[in-house]
Structure formats: C-alpha cells, structure tokens
Amino acid sequence: MRDPVSPLGNASFDGFCKIREIGPLGMISLRAKPDVKELAKAVKAAVGTKLPAQRRIEIAGDKACGWMSPDEYILILPYGETDAAMAAIAKAMGAAHHLAAVVSDARAVFRVEGDKANQVLAKLCPVDLDALAEGELRRTRAAQVAAAFWKEGDGFTVVCFRSVASYMMGLLSHSAEKGSELA
C-alpha cells in the first residue's frame, strides 16, 4: 500500500522560530465517559498511557492520549498502528458504550520550535500561555480556525484540521517572521 501524504508535504519555515509540518501521525478519536471502567484499559492497550485528567495529555514515547472533553480523548500513535489500536480498543471496551474513529488523515500537525515559540502562539490564540501547565492540552482558536496544542520538547505541537493546513502554515509563518519578536 502506498504511503499517505501529509497535507503540506512536511513544509517548513525559518523565522525567529522554526515551523515544521510533521506527520502524518496516527490519531484516533475515542469517545466514552471516564467512569466507564473499560476506558482506562482501552487507552492503555491502544497507546500505553494512563487516562489523562481534565485538559491533560499523557505522553509515552511516540504515543500519547489527550483529554479533549469530558467524554472525548485523542489517541496519538504512529500512522501505521491505528488498525491494531482500534482492534485493541474494541476488545477492551467490549459492549461498553463508546465510539472510536480513526482521524489521522483529518488533521494537520505542526511543530513550533525555539525559545520564543510561545510568542508565535501568543499572536494567534486567546490563551494565557504563562498559565499553561506542563502536560496541558489546550483546545482553542488560532486566528480563525480551531486548534489544539501542548508544550513538548523545545516548543509546541499544534494540531488543526487538514483542510486548513496551509492557512495554519501561513499564520504560523507570519507570526514567526524575523523582527516581529514580542520581546
């Protein structure tokens, strides 16, 4: 089977921060309530992390599980492993009410890297970045589109919908232009 392509073919931009489109990453949207006891098991089986608390993302190597809403989680894993993860979820959840859907191709993922990475996001998102905790997954708006991000390594990982990938790339690049540092 041919390899899938990421929306922008891993485009990148060098400004006062480095912007890179990464992926494709495997992603699964998993909906169930945390009080369903099978859920933690399913997450563990699929990506090996514990169930994240409100607004947290649990990262384990190249896999992660993020809290999206009181009954929705995002599982992140290598692109090719989603089938196995879906099977593991189905098995663990059994008859418990849930919905799992592969959404790997519905997303675009960016890295914003550098010690002023927060300034790039501060130009686009109505979020108090100083108050963003380690391991916090923030869903918000970047200019005119929905986005989610978390701190990771020397910057941020930013996720948006695939169809607006080039818009997001444009926003991030514009905001990272050299000379436009906020401080």
């Binding site: 929306p7 191709d105 109505p126 100083d130």
Partner: protein, 991 residues
C-alpha cells in the same frame, strides 16, 4: 517666528539630523523630534486648514489632543492621511503635505467660507438647500463633500503588515508618567503580573518637563531609575509607543503598538494590536490642558501653554520670540518661566484672576515678567500668524485697554483628566468645582464579570494634578513605599469659559471651541437657543467634539458654554459618551494579520492542488474552494460545463466530493436519535445499505439532506451537504447535550478524514474494475449499498449512490490517499473517456434528474412537503424535529407553492430568479405572484432549457402554461412539467 534654540532639548539628539519634506520643501530636524517639533523648528506654524471655514490652522498642542496639525504622510502604499504631527516621530526621509486646501496652504479658495461664516452658523445646512428637490444630491451635497473631508484618499495597496498579540495580566497600567511608573513599581514589587503601556516613545510624562523633584532627585533621574528597576522585574512588561485604545467588558483592553511607524520599511510589522485581558486596569493617562475661549484663539501661534513648554524643554523649539501667556491658573506660569529661562521674551502674563498669589507667579514676577491680573485677551490680532493681542478686563465686555505685539500666545484654561478608559465601559464622573473639571467618581466605577470595579484612575487622570498629589494617590490606592515630590504651592484656578466674560456676539463668533470643526461659542449658544439642549443634541447639531480629536480640547469648554446658555450647572448638563478608541487606530492594525493568503482560512480538499494545476475555475463554497469546471484551451466556462456533462452521460466523469460532511453516529440509542433528526426512518436501514434523508429545523423548514449509511448494528454514517458538515454536527450535539442527554449516542465528525470521489457515467464500473481490488458488480454492490475494500491498492469505501442519475460510485479513502486515488482513477479511466467535472456540471445533472439541491430549491422557508418529498417523511413517527412546526396553519396550507418542472414554450432558459406572475395586484400595489423558479439551466443532454420551481398547486398544474417575469416588460411562457427530465425510470443509476 518659531525656531530651534541653540541649547537644550531633552528628547532630541542633535548628532542625528533628520531630513524631511513638507509640501515639497526640504527641512531638517533631529532624531527625537516629533514632526510638529520639526515643523516649528523650521518656522512652519501654519500647517493646515479647518474643516468648515478653511481658516488657517497652526499647531496648538504637543500630544494626542492636537486638533489642527494633521498632515498627509508618506507615499504610495505607505500614504496615510490625517497623521497627527504632534505624535508622529520624525525620521529621515519623512514626507508630509498639508490638508484641506486648494490650490495651496497659503492661498486656499475654500476660505470664502470664512468670509461667509456669518451665514454658515451651526446647523445652517438643516435649514436650507431644500429646493429644488434634486438639488441637495446634485448641487449642494457635492460642494459640501468636496469642501469637507480632510486628508487625501490613499491610493496604493497596503505594503505593510500587521499582527495581533494576546496578553494576560493582573494589572494593566495605561500611561507611563510618574503615577503609572510608580504604580507598576508597587504592583510589580507585590508580585503582580503587570503590563505598563505608554503611548509616546518616552517614559515619564510631564513631570520632567515641569521640573518636578521626586525623592530629592530630578524627575528625569527618578524616571530613569524607576524604569531600570522595572526592567529588572520579570513579572512586569513595559511597552512604549503602545496606546491603550479602548477598555471593553470583562477587562479586555485593546492597545495599538506603533512598532515601525518611525522606521518604515524595516520589515517589522507596522502596528501590533494587543488584545489584553487584565484583572484590573489602571488609567494613569494624565490630563489635558484646556484652551481659553477668546476671540481669535484659533490663529496660528496661539498654543496651549503646556505645549509651548514642551516644545521649549523637550525639543529646544521656540514657538515665538515674544509669547504672551494668558491663563486662569498658576500652572501656565511654568511656561513663562521656561520661556524666560530659554532666553525668550514674555511681554506679559494675562491672568483672568483678580488675585494672583502662589509660588509660581511669585517666581515669574521675580524674574521680571509683567503680570496683569483680572485681565483678558479681548482678541488676538493676525491672520495666518499671531501679530499681537488686545487686552482688556476679564470682567468687562471687551473694551481694549492695551495692545501688545507678540508672535505667540500660550493659553491655559486649567486641566481636564483623561477619563476615556474609565468611561468606555460606563465609569461615572463627578464634577470637581475647585479644579473645574470632571474626574472619575471612584464610587461608580465600570464593573467586570464579577461585578467588581474594573478600572481605577491614578494621578492627574484622577484629578491629582501635581506630582506630589499624583504620587500620594498611588500610595493611597496601591500602597507601597511612600515616594514624595517637592510641593509647589499653587493657588486655585478660577473657571473662565468666555473671555472676557461679557463679550458681545461679534467676539463670540470668533471664539473657537472646536478648532478642527470650526465650532464657536456662538454656535453652542445658538444650539441652546433653538432647543438642542441635551448635550448630545448640542454636540450633534454643532459638531462640537466630533472631529478627529474627538473633543479632547473642546468638550469641557463647550459643556460650560452650554451650561451657561441654559443657566444650569455644568454637572447637570453632563458629558457626551466617551467611545473607543482614545486616539484613532489604523484600520489595517485592527485587521491584524488577516489579509492576502491568510485573510480567511481557505479550506482545501486533498485534490485541491490537482484541480488548480488542471485549469479548474474554482468557486468559493463557504470557506472551501471547489472546482466549478475545468476549462480546456479556449473553452468558455459554459462550454466546459456542457462538455463535462455530455461526457459524464456518455462516458464517465469524476467529481471531487470530499467537502461533503461525514458524521458517525453510534450508540444503543443512535437509531432512535436519527429517527428524531431525519424526517424519515433511519433505524431500520439495513447494514451495508444507503438511504437518502432529510433534516428540518424545529420550524419545520428543510435544512439539510444527504445519504445515511448503516455501518454496523449500532453505528451510522450521515452525509451532509458541503455547507452542512459543521452545522449539522453542532446541531446533533446540541440535541444530545441539551435535550436528550440521557440517550446513549456519540457522534464524530469525520468529514476531513476522507477524500471522496464520485465516479459517474456508463463506464464508471469499468474504471473501478480496471483499478481492481474489490467486486463492484451490480450483484455484489447494488444501487444504494456500500462496501469496504481496496481499489488500486488503496483503502476505500465504495458507495453506490448517484446524484447525477448515472451509474455512479462514490469512493471514500483516507485523505492522505485522496490525491493518489484521484490520479489512479484518472489514469485508469483514460481509456474509458474519463474527465473530471465540476460543481456546475453536478448542479445541472442533478437538475436534469429533478433532484433538489439545498440552497437552490430550499431557502430556509421551504418544507419537504413543498418539494414533493412526502415519501421521505415518515407518517408513522410520533415526532421528529420539525414535525410540530410543519403543522402550523401557514405551513399546512394547501395554497403553498410546490415543486414542479418547467419548460419554456420556446425552449429557452427561464431567467434565474424569476417569478411566476399571477393576476392582479395586492393592497400595496404590488403585482401578485404564484411561484418562482428555483433552478434553471440549459440542459446539454436535452438540448433545451429546463427548470425547477415552486408554483401554487405544484404537480396538480401539470400541463398548465404559466408566465415568468423577466427584467424587461416581456415574460416567458412555460409549461408545468414533471421535474424529472432525464431517465425518468432511473434505469441508468440502477445499472
């Protein structure tokens, strides 16, 4: 004349000259100058013409309150009208031209208005220009418009870029004078997250100019020391050139940072618009000096006393050799002293107060300056420049006692706190009799989301005008280590609103309140006389305070004159509303980064690039771009569309349908939920099957349609229209979260996970078979079923559904494979004559089949019953969304317009948008109608015009001939026909 002094100038750098031009004349200033300072240094006092009378206008102020000195600045894509010279930093290469005159600044034809001023009082235009009727628009208005306006019209496209930035803090302090700095120091020291913004390029405000001594050191030194201390605090952010423009609800503050106005073209964003969310806002925004109202107070050379002082101290610019001071307070004496110390002449200080005491007058007198108490400027002499003043008694009616030659007049009518930020969200003011100004009433602040005070004011903005009082105010409100300034004893001011107090009408017609809009004392009195007694009426009738300075100089004087005319107290008259922004903000800055490629998100399907590379004409559909058609060579769009249709009908076509919404609905109650959502039953759909469904809103009106497929026992996938994906998903979640929250249903919007391609036409199956990988035969995959598998090695879900009426497969594949699948199909289809087709071909093909289109046959007022879709409305269900709405009398009426097909008798295409005429006229004289066209096309398949539309009686009218209107008096006669024009038995789609 005004000129550069040899010594001094705390803000200029004499080692760095800046060359600039004004009206083509090359001039030189220094780095650190404002443009106004640079102009004055070159004796350019006359800088513009007023709005109405085109009177000569000079520089009055030294800051944001300047009403007159506005220029056209820059060139091409950097041209900007109405730039305020007093807040524009001078830079090398700056070009400016004066405004509102023709042919030249010195000789302006518009000045005839000045000579006719007597006939042009406030509101004169409401009383005339009424006859003949057409004359306002065609004769008078063009003249008014041409003579009004100020700056020229920008021409070039914008060349600069802009950006937004978000910031959060406990405390936002607007104003970097000593009160703001000290407040930041205290709050920063207490660990608060502080943002301190200052609109000018300098910290310290007026204190250094006024020569204040703080904590035993000069204000200059204290400011430097404090700024250094603040810079060390990581919890304090400081921004110069950043103007807090407006306070909005819940602690939201807009601030405009002029990042590169003074360094144009250096690649940085020109402005940055800060969107700050503050726990609390402190307005330490200072105060603005008021002019005095005496005749000729608008002649170039008459300036605010504080501005004169600023130009001398900050920029070493002398506004004149001989400056007469006119005042009602002690502060103006500082200007006299500063002028004297700079070696300039002050022939007299005209003080309206009969009793002049206080430290500063004493000092002035000691310096040998003549002080005349109880005196008034009766009028200023001069035309384009002050040549002298006539002096009389303030208590008199204008008899001249003495004339004194001078080339500048420095006036001071007292100070008014800058309360804008306090007032934007409703902070109330109180009248301070002693200082004759409105100041914030701390007991009635604007409130935030918790109902708590949102804004506080400090220092002069709070009516604490002296350095000592301002710093004491900080200590009182914020605590912290006490900082003291040396106290200078100042005697009370005496309110003076008209000078001299008994001035007659002739003088009052020359006393200007609003310099830019040419509003005089006599105008306000006229408004009061005519009954425009509410302060808002007066403002609007006279245009007082409506100029680009928004009344920063004129409001209080105007209110006082109005109060006088009404024989009422000033606080009873009240103020007009303060609205953002504090000073004008470029629209470009307000639009932020949003322009060009990132004006709005442009949603792209995975095959978007392919379409563009293959000549597609793309049309906006919501935020998406979809291929309208793929014109080849010299084809017109119309020809391309026809070719695409004929090819799909004869061979095979391909449509990018990726934008259609796809929503998974899963759970034990999913079937029940879908039965509520759709008008028909979805719970009994067989696994592996497809069913067309309709959704209505609660009103009963059709809102979306699409094919639903059953994936498993407890899961369905609902297709929506392109525009419906997010809307319908939100709609589903709304009902699940807010009404039926105990139902066990989850939804997931997977629209963007899949690319979707419609392969339609008699050869469609052959194309898929060529790719291979799964059985797509009629037997295995009959019409209205779907199957998962692979095609050409790519994972796919293939649906046997058809919107074109042809044998059709809609193939979904993960978006990352979309382009690969598309290209594979194009390649495999080559031998079968495959061609891509666009949205217009799709529209026409579905119309040939009589399929309705959301947005064409529906418009938000159409119910499914109108469209003969009764078959898709379950009669068995007790309830579905919209059912009750459809039972309302008007929706259940037999008189509703219903769907039918139409064919013009002459085979032509019925005009898009036309109505079916009925006999007679309604009560309002409008022609009666009985229907309208909803879709109308030339059908290349049938070689004639076809149309769908709504007509009273609908299909009961088959065979009737009706008349459609056109945009001429002609009508188009058309026959009511079956809307299915092509393949009535559906054999092709079923093949």
């Amino acid at each position: 004349m005004s000129t550069r002094l040899q010594k001094g100038g705390r803000l200029i750098d004499r080692s760095r000259a800046a060359t600039f031009t004004f009206n083509g004349k090359q001039l030189t200033g220094f780095a650190g100058d404002t443009l106004a300072a640079g102009l004055l240094a070159n004796d350019q006092m006359l800088v513009g013409r007023s709005f109405k009378y085109h009177r000569p206008r000079g520089i009055v102020a030294s800051g944001a309150e300047e009403p007159n000195a506005l220029v056209n600045m820059g060139e091409g894509g950097r041209f900007e009208p109405n730039q305020r010279t007093t807040t524009t930093e001078l830079f090398d290469g700056l070009t400016a031209t004066s405004q509102n005159h023709w042919p030249s600044l010195e000789f302006d034809v518009g000045v005839v208005n000045n000579y006719a001023a007597r006939f042009l009082p406030a509101g004169f235009y409401y009383k005339t220009f009424m006859f003949p009727r057409f004359a306002w628009k065609h004769v008078f208005e063009p003249v008014v418009r041409q003579s009004a306006g100020l700056g020229k019209v920008p021409q070039g496209p914008e060349v600069d870029r802009y950006e937004y930035a978000y910031a959060f803090c406990d405390l936002l302090i607007a104003g970097g004078g000593i009160a703001g700095l000290q407040a930041a120091l205290v709050a920063g020291g207490a660990g608060k997250r502080v943002i301190l913004v200052e609109q000018t390029p300098h910290w310290g405000g007026r204190a250094p100019v006024d020569g204040d001594v703080i904590d035993g050191i000069s204000a200059d030194e204290w400011v430097k020391k404090t700024v250094q201390a603040l810079e060390k605090m990581s919890n304090v952010t400081m921004r110069l050139r950043c103007m807090a423009a407006g306070v909005y609800d819940h602690g939201y503050v807009l601030a405009d940072e002029k990042v590169a106005d003074h360094t144009p073209g250096d690649g940085r964003p020109r402005h940055r618009l800060w969107r700050i969310r503050a726990g609390k806002i402190i307005a330490a925004t200072g105060a603005i000096e008021r002019p005095l109202s005496f005749a000729g107070n608008d002649i170039p050379g008459v300036m605010l006393a504080s501005a004169v002082r600023d130009y001398v101290v900050n920029y070493a610019v002398s506004p004149g050799d001989r400056t007469v001071i006119v005042t009602n307070n002690d502060d103006a004496y500082r200007t006299a002293i500063a002028l004297k110390e700079a070696g300039l002449e002050v022939p007299v200080i005209v003080d309206a107060r009969t009793n002049v005491t206080g430290d500063l007058p004493a000092k002035a007198r000691a310096m040998g300056i003549r002080v005349e108490a109880g005196r008034a400027v009766v009028k200023v002499k001069g035309a384009k420049r002050v040549t002298g003043v006539a002096i009389g008694l303030q208590a008199g009616e204008g008899a001249v006692l003495e004339e004194i030659a001078c080339d500048a007049v420095a006036m001071s009518g007292g100070w008014s706190p800058v309360v804008h930020l306090w007032s934007h969200c409703g902070g109330k003011l109180t009248w301070d009799d002693a200082q004759a100004h409105f100041r914030p009433d701390a007991t009635r602040p604007p409130t935030n989301q918790d109902g708590a005070a949102m804004v506080a004011t400090l220092g002069s903005a709070n009516g604490q005008l002296s350095a000592a009082a301002a710093l004491a105010d900080v200590a009182a409100q914020l605590g912290g280590k006490a900082v003291t300034a040396d106290t200078v004893h100042e005697a009370a001011l005496e309110p003076v609103w008209i000078m001299p107090q008994g001035a007659g009408h002739k003088l009052k017609m020359k006393m200007f309140l609003d310099y830019q809009n040419d509003v005089k004392v006599s105008d306000v009195q006229l408004a009061a006389r005519e009954g425009y007694t509410s302060v808002e009426h007066t403002k609007r009738y006279t245009t007082l305070g409506m100029a680009t300075d928004q009344g920063k100089l004129s409001n209080i004087n105007g209110l006082a004159v109005l109060a006088g005319a009404l024989n009422d107290k000033i606080p009873n008259v009240g103020t007009t509303t303060f609205r953002p922004p504090y000073t004008p903000v470029p629209l470009g800055a307000l639009a932020g980064e949003s322009r060009g490629d990132i004006f709005q998100p442009l949603r792209k399907s995975p095959m978007h690039g392919w379409h563009e590379a293959h000549g597609a004409y793309m049309e906006p559909v919501g935020l998406w771009r979809r291929a309208y058609c793929y014109a080849r060579g010299s084809e017109t769009h119309e020809q391309a569309v026809q070719r695409e249709i004929l090819n799909a009908r004869a061979n095979v076509g391909m449509l990018d349908a990726s934008t259609l919404g796809k929503i998974i609905v899963k759970g034990p109650d999913a079937g029940r939920f879908l039965d509520m959502l759709y008008t028909n039953v979805m719970s009994n759909l067989g696994i592996g099957k497809c069913r067309y469904g309709l959704m209505c809103n609660e009103q009963g009106f059709l809102s979306d349609d699409g094919v639903v497929i059953r994936l498993s026992d407890d899961s369905w996938l609902c297709h929506t229209t392109t525009g419906g994906a997010d809307r319908i998903h939100a709609w589903m979640e709304d009902w699940l979260q807010c009404e039926w929250w105990d139902w066990k249903v989850y939804t997931a919007n997977v629209t963007e996970e899949y690319a979707q391609i419609a392969v339609a036409g008699p050869n469609a199956r052959m194309v898929l078979e060529k790719l291979g990988g799964m059985d797509v035969s009629k037997e295995t995959l009959p019409f209205m079923s779907f199957a998962d598998g692979t095609l050409g090695g790519l994972p796919v879900r293939v649906h046997r559904i058809s919107f074109s009426g042809e044998l059709s497969y809609e193939i979904a594949t993960p978006a990352g494979h979309g382009l690969a699948l598309w290209e594979a199909l194009i390649e495999a289809g080559a031998e079968f004559g495959v061609m891509p087709y666009g949205t217009e071909a799709m529209h026409i093909m579905r119309a040939e089949k009589g399929f309705i289109m959301i947005g064409d046959e529906t418009d938000g007022t159409v119910i499914p019953q109108d469209l003969n879709l009764g078959w898709a409305i379950s009669k068995k269900k007790a309830d579905y969304l919209g059912k009750r709405g459809q039972e309302r009398t008007h929706l259940a009426s037999p008189d509703r317009w219903k769907l039918a097909g139409f064919e013009a008798l002459d085979g032509s295409v019925i005009p898009d948008g036309s109505y079916i005429i009925a006999d007679g006229f309604n009560g309002n004289g409008q022609r009666n109608t009985q229907g309208r066209v909803t879709s109308t096309y030339y059908s290349p398949t049938l070689k004639k015009g076809i149309a769908m539309g709504l007509v009273k009686g609908g299909m009961d009218r088959l065979g009737d001939v009706v008349e459609f209107n056109t945009l001429t008096t002609a009508t188009v006669k058309a026959r009511v026909v079956d809307p299915v024009f092509y393949d009535k038995d559906g054999e092709k789609g079923n093949a």
